[in-house]
């Protein structure tokens, strides 16, 4: 710790911290453009100049480390003069077109000019013109407004992992550009919109549709991956106008993925179902909710239709909330079925409690990561971003996978092989460590073996821990845990995979291939389902199929009754993220048309068929009950459950980040991006 003085007041500051960090920590304002706490220091805008005692010239606060006894003045005449001059300089080529700029009202340049600039401009000459670039369907450019802070360039290079933008030219001619007619294709590219301190990079889909002060901010949790990113939906006239990150250092930091940012566009898709629909012949006719529930009553009420054991099949997405899962669990046992597939994106579960086992931030405290089979870039782009940070900091990232995905990070050791060979690889690693035979060996396995210690984290992707071949792996991995005290974790992908897992622990996430009396599908489309043919076969043979979904799609024809549920943004509830963190969210807008949140549909259905203990008045009341049912076991070793499930698909399912759920699939902007099939 060192002692410094800012404006005459004494502060203690950690050694090597910069003036701007100390000022930020203590609530002292220093204006800045190029500095961003998550990016490297460029010190090229000069807005943060401050006077420091005994230095003849002002110093950039973002690039100057504090020293014992330093005296800094953020409000002195010299500082103020600098701020005014820099501001004037930055505005020389700025078009001052705030009235037609999307950033107006939330612009750092505007705010800083008001607070620190001079009220008058002396500049009379011509301003330069920079042609706009087409960076793709998400980010729109107005490069006349750019002040060359280079935040966007540094973000894509350091956080995105691939420098897709650059500052070309020099001095007066410098401009932001992608390489010759290329677009920006990073899966987290939307963050440059937030980073740009001016209106040079704005959201293409949101452009010209609302002003910041017209919108109400509603918090929610991302439904698109298992991280549970905190989002802020900006709402105007009952519509989500845009989605921004809500800073949460433990989870998403200040970023979100493009899928989180632009999925809202799907809410108003033409496919939205307006009223319940009943199949009559080969057509559907709109009916009222009352009629719909009476139809369900006729099928599911035990006094009208007594099912034998396991005569109802239930397919559910892994994005349904904890409350919905709780109600579903009750309903399933009421109609006497254990045929519930609560995570249709996966094979039946093989191991107990697949979750991260630790906090997201803790991942970064390890020295070595071994990533065993994951499509991280398509599944969890923000977790990948943390690994990238670790790679940049000199820690080792090691990969064992079946496909050579380009993760855009520094990889120390890589083994690409068919899954059946994983066992051999791990056994070999075990042999290297437990015997002395392989002392002189020079192999990737040896390199990895040498890294195993309590500072090593083995992360297993969903493709692997749900694959039957994993059963042969658990033993040797457990031995390695005993031998080296390395830590393990799993990477589930659904926003509520862990919650569902903990709620439905006594089901196997599996449906038999047989004839059922009825089936129920919850918020699903065929694209979401791993075993598509099983799903189609079951629906074909089953007598009565209920589909609860916000959107019509190709396979809607298979349903006899369709009930319009809401999208995530019109729903409230609770997700459990991959670190078992329980996070609740509320509605951001009211349901469109006559759609209803799934939990309400299940709740009313329960009443219609006289399911006992179904008197919940609110979502939070259900939550109270639901969280009690969550198992709290930790993942320390891999314990096998369900050894002999049939119909286990061995196939590898390549995921596409922009095809991950119904909402994302209907976001036109996301669908127009280059598909991120990132294997080499």
């Amino acid at each position: 710790m060192v002692k410094i003085k800012i404006n005459g007041k004494t502060f203690k500051a950690p050694e090597k911290s910069t003036i701007i960090q100390v000022a930020d920590d203590n609530g002292i304002e220093i204006p800045r453009f190029c500095y961003h706490k998550k990016l490297s220091i460029a010190a090229n805008c000069r807005m943060c100049l401050v006077e420091v005692k005994n230095f003849p010239k002002p110093l950039p606060a973002c690039a100057t480390q504090v020293n014992e006894g330093m005296e800094i003045f953020t409000k002195s005449k010299q500082t103020k003069d600098c701020q005014q001059s820099v501001m004037e300089f930055l505005l020389i080529n700025h078009p001052l077109d705030c009235p037609i700029c999307d950033q107006g009202g939330e612009c750092d340049l505007q705010d800083t000019a008001m607070a620190y600039g001079s009220p008058k401009s002396r500049y009379q000459e011509e301003k330069r013109v920079v042609l706009n670039k087409n960076l793709g369907p998400l980010v729109s450019t107005d490069l006349n407004r750019c002040i060359q802070c280079s935040r966007c360039v540094r973000f894509l290079k350091e956080v995105g992992g691939m420098q897709e933008l650059g500052l070309i030219g020099r001095g007066e001619h410098a401009e932001i550009s992608a390489y010759v007619e290329k677009s920006v294709d990073s899966e987290i590219s939307g963050n440059i919109i937030d980073l740009c301190p001016v209106g040079a990079l704005t959201s293409k889909p949101f452009r010209y549709s609302a002003r910041t002060w017209e919108m109400v901010r509603k918090s929610t949790i991302s439904p698109h991956d298992s991280l549970g990113s905190h989002l802020e939906a900006h709402v105007k006239d009952g519509n989500v106008m845009r989605v921004l990150p809500k800073e949460n250092e433990d989870i998403n930091e200040c970023w979100i993925s493009d899928r989180d940012r632009f999925s809202y566009i799907g809410i108003n898709s033409e496919d939205r179902i307006k009223t319940p629909l009943l199949k009559t012949g080969s057509n559907f006719k709109p009916i009222s909710w009352d009629e719909a529930f009476h139809t369900l009553e006729r099928v599911f009420h035990p006094s009208l239709n007594k099912f034998k054991e396991d005569e109802v099949a239930i397919f559910s997405s892994n994005q349904i909330t904890l409350e919905e899962a709780y109600l579903l669990d009750k309903l399933a046992s009421y109609v006497g079925t254990k045929q519930v597939k609560f995570d249709v994106a996966n094979n039946p579960n093989l191991i107990a409690n697949p979750s991260l086992n630790g906090m997201i931030g803790d991942v970064e405290s390890f020295e070595n990561i071994i990533l065993l089979g994951s499509q991280l870039r398509n599944e969890n782009p923000l977790l990948l971003q943390r690994l990238r940070k670790m790679g940049n900091a000199g820690k080792t990232i090691n990969i064992i996978n079946t496909v050579d995905f380009d993760l855009q990070l520094t990889v120390s050791n890589k083994i690409i092989q068919p899954i059946k060979d994983f066992q051999k690889t791990f056994e070999h690693i075990h042999k290297i460590l437990s015997t002395k035979v392989a002392k002189k060996e020079n192999s990737t396995e040896k390199n990895i073996a040498n890294l195993l210690s309590e500072k090593t984290l083995l992360l297993v992707g969903e493709d692997i821990y749900t694959n039957p071949a994993f059963m042969n792996l658990t033993n040797v991995i457990n031995q390695l845990i005993d031998l080296t005290s390395m830590k393990i974790g799993c990477l589930p992908t659904g926003s509520n995979s862990v919650g569902l897992q903990q709620m439905f622990g006594n089901y196997v996430n599996h449906i038999d291939d047989k004839k059922y009396q009825a089936s129920i599908s919850l918020n699903l489309e065929l694209e979401d389902i791993k075993d598509k043919s099983l799903f189609e076969r079951v629906l074909k043979k089953s007598k009565f199929n209920v589909g609860v979904t916000p959107f019509l799609n190709k396979n809607s024809k298979q349903f006899d009754l369709i009930l319009p549920s809401t999208t995530h943004f019109e729903n409230e509830g609770t997700f459990v993220n991959l670190e078992s963190r329980v996070q609740s969210f509320s509605q951001t807008i009211s349901p469109k048309f006559e759609s209803k949140p799934l939990w309400k549909i299940l709740r009313v259905l329960g009443n219609f068929i006289d399911c006992p203990d179904f008197t919940f008045e609110s979502c939070s009341e259900i939550k109270e009950k639901a969280v009690q049912k969550l198992s709290k076991n930790k993942l320390k070793r891999f314990n096998l459950i369900n050894q002999q499930v049939k119909h286990h698909s061995k196939d590898f399912w390549l995921k596409d980040i922009n095809n991950s759920d119904a909402l994302v699939r209907r976001s036109t902007a996301l669908q127009n991006t280059k598909r991120l099939r990132s294997e080499k």
């Binding site: 691939m162 897709e164 650059g166 020099r170 992608a178 010759v180």
Partner: protein
């Protein structure tokens, strides 16, 4: 990129650690330009590929330094300094004379493909202001109209 160029670049690469290939980017671009006369987008992509760098990062370097030409520059590229010392020593007068005589503006090439005129920043040789260089290689100092005319005559 032919073998000869690769060899030249490899020689530059030896000066840096093997995981810091991008250190050789300026040298590699210069080698390319000496061979081709100027740098096309394809040349830049080739350098990027060879040095394992993002293309845009190579383009940044190529556009930052004045001596790299991203368009054809004719047989003789005349780069004339217009920065402060040269300006005070009336570089503008020389510039206007050249423009008139060659019938071109900055960054243009004469119709016969012989001359190209470039505006350059301070070359750190203000003592000889005003000055220009020919093809980045030869510097002509203390210019006046006669000297310029003489130079144009000599460049065949």
């Amino acid at each position: 990129m032919n073998l000869k160029l690769k060899k030249l670049i490899d020689k530059e690469l030896k000066k840096y650690p093997s995981d810091k290939k991008q250190s050789a980017v300026i040298a590699a671009l210069a080698i390319m330009q000496n061979d081709r006369g100027w740098l096309s987008k394809e040349d830049i992509s080739e350098v990027a590929l060879y040095l394992d760098m993002p293309e845009i990062a190579v383009l940044e370097v190529a556009t930052f330094y004045n001596m790299f030409d991203l368009k054809s520059v004719g047989r003789y590229k005349l780069s004339i300094c217009t920065n402060i010392s040269c300006m005070l020593r009336d570089a503008d007068h020389i510039v206007n004379h050249l423009k008139e005589k060659l019938q071109i503006d900055f960054n243009e090439v004469t119709r016969d493909g012989k001359f190209c005129l470039k505006e350059s920043e301070c070359m750190g040789a203000c003592g000889g202001a005003p000055l220009l260089t020919v093809n980045n290689q030869k510097m002509h100092e203390n210019l006046n109209i006669d000297k310029v005319d003489q130079l144009l005559k000599e460049l065949k």
